[in-house]
């Protein structure tokens, strides 16, 4: 027994020495200029986190991602049964689509000669290519659905009413942009499904009164769907619509906060 205590004592001595060394090194690293320049003074990554109202606020205040939220929200806003997370999930799907989309862009060329075989190549020869393409496609359909359901949720809660009228209008624009993003992406695989779905869709737009044929020409980049259309829709899909969508999303999220957070309980 005595031996055991001795042993553990000796070990404990070495252990505490090691621990203090580790702690010292940690402190040195933590207080280094590099770390202090990365994390803001109140950041929990610098001063550690113990649960306190102040630290709970610091978590939000010192992180650009969480800064989307205010430090405090209404208690009812936390209930999943109120929002069903639909707006947040739409945003998350948008991010997921951006990430998977960037992955796909590495292997895809928007020309009539290469587009379809590139998709086949992604499906068969690229690591995780098939999975990522599936995710991109299903997430796109899901995003159309979730944006639509989000709109319905907001309507049934009467959350479009003053002072949130303008944010509702932005929301309708975002719904349109979501549809456009999905529709432009639909053509890119350049298979029979893509070609004819887009033919049906653009024929409809060609019936715009007065300048229908002009609208159709601008959309297609030619009289009929061709390689020019593919290039045009590719640029719209990967660059222009995401860019515009991000701008409208920024205004949308900003207005949510400025209009007093999400709407009250019924």
């Amino acid at each position: 027994m005595a031996n055991g205590t001795n042993g553990s004592n000796g070990k404990g001595g070495a252990g505490t020495k090691l621990l203090s060394r580790v702690k010292e090194t940690g402190d040195k690293l933590g207080n280094s200029q590099v770390m202090t320049s990365i994390f803001r003074p109140g950041s929990v990554f610098r001063k550690g986190y113990t649960d306190s109202p102040r630290n709970r606020s610091y978590v939000i205040m010192n992180n650009v991602l969480y800064h989307l939220h205010p430090v405090k929200v209404k208690r009812h806003a936390v209930k999943v049964s109120y929002t069903l997370c639909l707006g947040g999930l739409s945003f998350f799907l948008f991010i997921l689509l951006t990430v998977t989309g960037i992955f796909l862009m590495f292997f895809y060329r928007p020309t009539t000669a290469q587009a379809w075989s590139d998709i086949q190549h992604i499906e068969t020869a690229v690591y995780f290519g098939s999975l990522v393409r599936n995710m991109h496609r299903w997430a796109a359909h899901l995003m159309v659905l979730s944006v639509f359901l989000h709109m319905s949720r907001v309507f049934y809660h009467g959350a479009y009413k003053a002072p949130r009228e303008f944010n509702w209008v932005i929301g309708v624009i975002l719904l349109t942009l979501t549809l456009l993003l999905s529709f432009t992406g639909y053509l890119l695989p350049w298979d029979q499904l893509a070609l004819w779905a887009v033919t049906v869709g653009t024929n409809m737009m060609g019936y715009t009164p007065v300048f229908g044929s002009q609208v159709r020409f601008v959309l297609l980049g030619s009289k009929e769907i061709s390689g020019d259309t593919l290039l045009r829709w590719y640029v719209l899909h990967v660059l222009m619509f995401p860019f515009v969508t991000v701008i409208f999303m920024a205004v949308h999220f900003w207005r949510v906060r400025k209009d007093g957070g999400i709407s009250g309980p019924l």
């Binding site: 978590v59 086949q120 995710m135 496609r137 009467g158 009228e165 349109t176 779905a197 049906v200 409809m204």
Partner: protein, 288 residues
């Protein structure tokens, strides 16, 4: 005034004691009774002339004058400014003409002079000044009464994180199991039968069977979007309660059902030649 938390008032009282400034009357009123703002408003003009009146610098006096007290600056701030000014004026007087320091001014004067005046201060020793009082309502929609709020971390972020994980898991599993369609290479000369638009446009394609393309493809969807956008400006009913909004709720439900039914018919009940079929009898002509 009423919305200053107790602990801040207490802290300021302690600080004031440490500085040797006289205790603020407003605090006493605040703590003693739930004061009406009107009461404090009445109090200010009474206190104000008295305080600078002892520090006899007339040049300092006018800015503190009664004209400002009506300018929307909270009474307690005015009062505090007046006291501070009085204290400083007393201090300067104490240095220049000791005899001139009034009976009330002496105590504050000596107390103020023990604090080293910081360099690069403005007139009157201030290191900062009140530019404006921004009311919270002018920046953000706020409610006057206190709201039941919780911290975003952990209460909201945990929920969001769980939602994101669940969605991610579902999508990952679904994508691992179900392949996205890739038909044969596009061929302009070979029209598949039927040719269908993406599912969210199938409602429009369904309308094409009933109306002229201009009506079905442009007018109706355009009107739909327009109606959605103007909905909040047309709906003047301020209530959020479902019972008070029966008309708008039924309108929107009809709108939703209209599209849902059309999309479902277009997706599953249209076969070769876009003719009406039953999916359980003739099979499904639908690709996502």
């Amino acid at each position: 005034m009423a919305d200053i938390p107790d602990h801040l008032l207490k802290r300021s009282a302690e600080r004031r004691k440490a500085l040797g400034l006289p205790a603020k009357d407003g605090d006493a009123v605040d703590e003693a009774s739930s004061d009406a703002p009107a009461e404090a408003g009445v109090e200010v003009p009474a206190v104000e002339p008295a305080a600078p009146g002892e520090g006899p610098a007339p040049a300092v006096d006018p800015p503190a004058g009664g004209g400002e007290s009506k300018g929307g600056v909270p009474a307690h701030l005015l009062e505090r400014a007046a006291r501070r000014r009085a204290a400083l004026a007393g201090g300067e007087d104490g240095a220049a003409v000791p005899a001139a320091a009034g009976a009330g001014g002496t105590a504050t004067a000596t107390a103020t002079r023990t604090i080293a005046t910081p360099t690069a201060t403005g007139p009157g020793g201030h290191t900062q000044r009140l530019l404006t009082v921004v009311k919270s309502g002018s920046i953000q929609q706020t409610k006057a009464e206190a709201q039941d709020k919780v911290h975003t971390w952990p209460h909201l972020l945990v929920v969001e994180f769980a939602c994101v994980l669940a969605m991610m898991a579902t999508l990952l599993i679904f994508s691992a199991l179900v392949r996205a369609p890739l038909l044969s290479l596009a061929d302009v000369n070979q029209t598949p039968n039927p040719s269908k638009a993406p599912w969210y446009f199938l409602g429009l394609q369904e309308l094409l069977t009933m109306f002229h393309p201009m009506v079905a493809g442009v007018t109706i969807p355009g009107m739909g979007l327009f109606m959605l956008m103007v909905a909040p400006y047309v709906d003047k009913n301020p209530s959020h309660k479902p019972n008070d909004r029966k008309f708008m709720i039924s309108m929107f439900t009809i709108f939703l059902m209209f599209w849902a039914v059309l999309v479902i018919i277009g997706s599953f009940f249209r076969g070769t030649g876009f003719n009406f079929v039953f999916p359980w009898k003739d099979g499904i002509f639908f690709e996502l």
